[in-house]
């Protein structure tokens, strides 16, 4: 596995994977592979996410009731498990996005300090 780690890619800070998943789902319901593709594309492949770790995260979010899953047809007519945000999930997403923004602003302020 280690052979795939590209030194130019970033390791994800703890806990941010959930936020990225919520973001990906905030636009539309998607299956797991599509979520991982989306994150890869949007981050211009800068974020290094082991694809496997996506699934435990999805199950954890589902247990918390932030997302819910249902089986449906994928674009190539295969059965796939689609996830979508619940109402609570949407609240959470907004709250966490907000928290994240404030955190990054604060961290940047500190780092830019002269």
């Amino acid at each position: 596995m280690t052979d795939t780690i590209d030194p130019g890619k970033l390791e994800l800070p703890q806990g941010t994977l959930d936020l990225l998943i919520l973001k990906a789902l905030s636009l539309e319901a998607q299956h797991g592979w599509a979520i991982s593709e989306r994150i890869r594309q949007v981050s211009a492949a800068a974020l290094q996410i082991p694809q496997g770790s996506l699934y435990p995260a999805l199950h954890r979010l589902e247990r918390r009731g932030w997302i819910k899953a249902k089986w449906g047809e994928s674009d190539n007519n295969r059965r796939a498990k689609f996830y979508e945000l619940t109402r609570t999930g949407r609240h959470q997403f907004e709250a966490e996005t907000d928290a994240w923004r404030r955190l990054t602003v604060a961290v940047r302020l500190v780092l830019d300090m002269r």
Binding site: G52, P56, R63, R78
Partner: protein
């Protein structure tokens, strides 16, 4: 997050986990599908970028990471690992137990008996000693008040409070938030044929304020209806009476109901389970204390003379029991002064030193409980010993099972099951068994309580086990403890063994340590059963001694007839005439042998009168002498023997010379060195004419069963005025004649008055209750223990025989005779038995000191009992090992040697 969201989250969480646990296979399949879908899509994408199929899917897998690890993490994410583990253990346990129904049943039955015994006892003890009254608000702040004072430098406990005293204390005290009084009395409810004597609670209006109870209909009475002097004749029906007697009808309010002498209007119906202040005697109705007292004792609001009330108080918040006692003592002292103002003969408070105790509500926790309470506690101890024996038995069975499973266990250990997991699995098994046994135990307890109820709470309303949360909780706790206790030793032992030795060894080897633990458990069982059986023997002998005491009168053929005029005013002569008519009528009933008017009933009521004897200084101070009066047939009726002289005769009439019969104890006390016959006693004052002693009767136990004989004298009813009842002697058992007698006599009663007919047995039995209780319960539990110990011994011996099949087969093959094999196996059983007997005897000898006070004329070290129990146990030991022994004798060596 608002509450609604929180709840929705919680629900979704539960739903999710529920599905994860109970639809595990489905959830797993979905996970597989999901991951496969991902890998296929990834591979397809790689293929599109120009890789060949094999390389494309390899890349996809590498990108993905370890599929199994991801699955494992996804399972963790579901948050149900522990639950899953428990469920798996549970399924494993159920499978294991179902595969050995004999073992499971033995364990369940044994524990169920042990738990059942305790559940049944708990129900009784809890109600007598711990459980607060139903509906009582904040029971921790409620107490009862006991008063005492000093008279002639002796401590006098007041049996109850006077009504005025209650008012004084309520008024003078500063630390009480509430106070109330009540008194339970057997009163006839209804009139004529309908009339039944039932337990009625006579309460102050403030009584209801102690409870969070609301009438199911109507209302409770208030202070205006319970006011001095006469109150208002109203009644609140108990729920049970309303349902049984009035069929739960809604039109009872406003109806009249005769209760004792009170013709009361029904104003309300109490809720279910609201039965007044004494759990042992549930009340069926509630009437105002002032209304009742006014009819029974018209001066109750002007004088201190009738100590009959039980006082309940609620302490103000923050007031300790000690502070309340000081305060109530102060209030009592004030009240004492008030009483002295009315009755100057009363000694001063400085001399009388009035004082109050503020004690727990439950009667049994008080010193009043006395012998009954300590017997009940002993029986509780005995019940827990039975459970202990049951646990030892089960632990033994479990150990045996663990050994026969040790290869299975070794295999599992070798396959990588960790020891903590293994122990958890074994514990799950024993807990499961114990919980099933707990359920069975509750059913056993329900049955057992019917027996106990008749012994401890004879008059109590039905007390259920199954529908009582406290008892169920207790049973669950017991089951859990039993499950852990019986499971821990075998589980630890299994977890400890060395895998390789277990795997290599056959069933025959490695049993040394097993025998030691099992032997200790077996010995403990034997010893405890010996201990209980010795207790049983002692109590049975003691009961026998009590029952065979010659009371000085017969019990079984006697009926006691009492009249109740319900406030009807009859002149003395009319009363006398009525009693004569009744006595004459009763003599005409077939089956009645004799009857006599009497004034007191032994063990129930007593009377005395001052007298003087010429030549003896203050003779009536020489002891406590009690008075009985009778007619000509008195001695024939009661069966009291005349030792010298004569009984009453028809010539002893009004106007003829007055005669007395005295008992031997009295004769000896008054005239120790002379013949009492012909002596003169002057009743009333010394100016009265002589009453001549014409007969000496045998001694009687008139006041208590086991004390010194009472000094009793008998006067002729014809020669004195007195309010009488009637004693009836019937052929055979009096109980069977009671209803006939009641019907015949009731027909003669004027107006609303009525008769009650009580078999003498019902008066005598309660005084022997504690002995009977001790004997019955010790015997019951002792036998239970014996059966358990016998099962235990049997299972160990037959297990050992099974283990030694090979060895025994070898011996037989080498020429050992059947007799030798038999002796070997029986000898093993007997050795266990004898060791158990020895230890049990030592325990019993040590405990004798505490049991002694509960026995009557029976040494706690009675050798007869010890020897009998030892013999019984030895016999049981032989019998329990006889079956495995015969099995051993019949072994076919050729088969035995081939078994592993």
């Amino acid at each position: 997050m608002n509450a609604g969201d929180f709840l929705a989250d919680l629900l979704s969480d539960i739903r999710f986990r529920f599905r994860a646990v109970f639809r595990r296979a489905e959830v797993e399949r979905e996970l597989d599908d999901e991951l496969r879908f991902h890998l296929e899509r990834e591979a397809a994408k790689n293929e599109r970028s120009g890789l060949d199929t094999i390389e494309a899917s390899r890349r996809a897998r590498v990108q993905f990471g370890g599929v199994d690890r991801v699955k494992e993490e996804a399972r963790d994410a579901r948050g149900v690992r522990v639950l899953e583990m428990i469920l798996r253990d549970l399924r494993y346990a159920i499978r294991g137990l179902r595969s050995r129904p004999g073992f499971s049943l033995a364990v369940i039955a044994t524990l169920a008996l042990g738990i059942g015994a305790n559940v049944a006892m708990f129900g009784v003890v809890d109600r007598l000693m711990f459980r607060p009254l139903a509906y009582l608000r904040d029971p921790g702040s409620v107490n009862r008040v006991n008063l005492e004072y000093t008279y002639r430098s002796e401590r006098v406990e007041m049996g109850g409070l006077e009504y005025l005293r209650y008012r004084d204390i309520a008024r003078e005290s500063r630390t009480l938030a509430q106070s109330a009084v009540f008194h339970n009395e057997k009163l006839a409810i209804g009139i004529g044929e309908e009339a039944r004597v039932m337990n009625v609670s006579i309460v102050s209006a403030s009584y209801f304020d102690f409870f969070d109870a609301h009438p199911v209909m109507g209302r409770f009475f208030d202070a205006a209806e319970d006011s001095m002097p006469a109150g208002t004749p109203v009644v609140v029906l108990g729920n049970a009476l309303w349902k049984t007697r009035f069929g739960g009808r809604h039109d009872v309010l406003g109806q009249l109901l005769q209760i004792g002498s009170l013709n009361a209007t029904i104003i309300g119906v109490a809720p279910e389970g609201f039965v007044g202040g004494d759990a042992g005697q549930p009340a069926v109705a509630f009437i105002p204390v002032t209304a009742y007292a006014h009819l029974g004792f018209p001066d109750y609001d002007k004088s201190y003379g009738w100590q009959w009330l039980f006082m309940l108080v609620r302490r103000k918040p923050g007031v300790t029991v000690a502070a309340a006692a000081t305060d109530v003592t102060h209030a009592f002292t004030r009240s004492w002064e008030q009483e002295r103002a009315l009755d100057p003969r009363r000694e001063t408070a400085a001399v009388g030193h009035p004082r109050a105790a503020v004690s727990p509500l439950q009667l049994f926790r008080d010193q009043d409980g006395g012998r009954d309470a300590s017997i009940v506690l002993w029986i509780c101890g005995v019940a827990s010993v039975v459970l202990l024996i049951a646990c030892a038995n089960v632990a033994n069975l479990q150990l045996g099972r663990a050994f026969s499973r040790r290869r299975e266990i070794a295999v599992r250990l070798a396959l990588g099951v960790t020891r903590p997991r293994l122990i958890a699995q074994l514990l799950t098994e024993s807990l499961l068994l114990a919980l099933v046994a707990g359920v069975a135990g509750v059913l056993v307890g329900e049955g057992g309580q019917a027996v106990l109820r008749s012994l401890f709470l004879p008059k109590a309303a039905s007390v259920g086990v199954v529908d009582d949360p406290r008892t169920i909780l207790f049973a669950t706790l017991l089951a859990l403890v039993a499950g852990i206790v019986t499971g821990v030793a075998p589980a630890l032992q299994s977890g400890r063994g060395d895998i390789t030795t277990s795997l290599k060894s056959g069933v025959r080897e490695g049993g040394v340590q097993r025998s030691r633990t099992r032997s200790v458990l077996l010995l403990a069982q034997g010893a405890l059963s010996v201990f209980l059986l010795i207790g049983a023997g002692l109590f049975v002998r003691s009961l026998h001694n009590v029952v065979s005491i010659r009371l000085g009168y017969d019990v079984d053929p006697l009926l006691y007839v009492e009249t109740n005029l319900r406030g009807m005013k009859l002149t003395d002569s009319a009363q006398y005439q009525l009693k004569r008519t009744l006595a004459d009528e009763v003599r005409t009933i077939t089956g009645v042998q004799a009857a006599s008017q009497v004034v007191t009933v032994p063990l129930y009521s007593m009377m005395s009168q001052s007298f003087s004897v010429p030549g003896i200084d203050s003779a009536d101070r020489l002891g406590h002498f009690s008075l009985q009066m009778g007619e000509r047939d008195y001695f024939r009726t009661t069966g009291t023997r005349i030792l010298r002289g004569r009984g009453f005769e028809s010539s002893d009439r009004r106007g003829s010379p007055r005669v007395a019969v005295i008992d031997e104890a009295m004769a000896k006390r008054l005239w120790p060195h002379e013949n009492a016959l012909g002596k003169c006693i002057k009743f009333g004052s010394d100016t009265m004419p002589c009453t001549t002693v014409v007969g000496i009767a045998e001694d009687t136990q008139a006041n208590d069963v086991i004390g010194d004989p009472s000094m009793q004298y008998y006067l002729s009813v014809e020669q004195h005025h007195a309010e009488t009842s009637v004693f009836v002697r019937t052929q055979g058992n009096a109980e069977s004649h009671a209803e006939t007698v009641r019907k015949r006599l009731q027909a003669l009663m004027p107006g609303a008055s009525y008769v009650t007919v009580t078999p003498m047995r019902q008066i005598v039995d309660p005084t022997m209750r504690s002995w009977r209780m001790g004997a019955t319960m010790f015997l019951l539990f002792g036998l239970l223990a014996l059966v358990l110990a016998a099962i235990g011994l049997y299972s160990v011996i037959s297990y050992n025989v099974a283990q030694r099949t090979h060895e025994l087969g070898l011996r037989i093959a080498l020429g050992a005779r059947a007799r030798d094999v038999l002796r070997m196996v029986l000898g093993e059983g007997l050795r266990f038995g004898l060791a158990g007997i020895a230890i049990g005897v030592v325990i019993a000898l040590g405990a004798g000191h505490w049991v002694q006070p509960l026995l009557y004329q029976e040494s706690a070290h009675d050798p007869l009992v010890f020897i009998a129990v030892a013999a019984i146990l030895a016999l049981v030991a032989v019998m329990a090992s006889a079956i495995p022994a015969t099995r051993a004798v019949r072994l076919d060596p050729s088969i035995a040697l081939r078994t592993e």
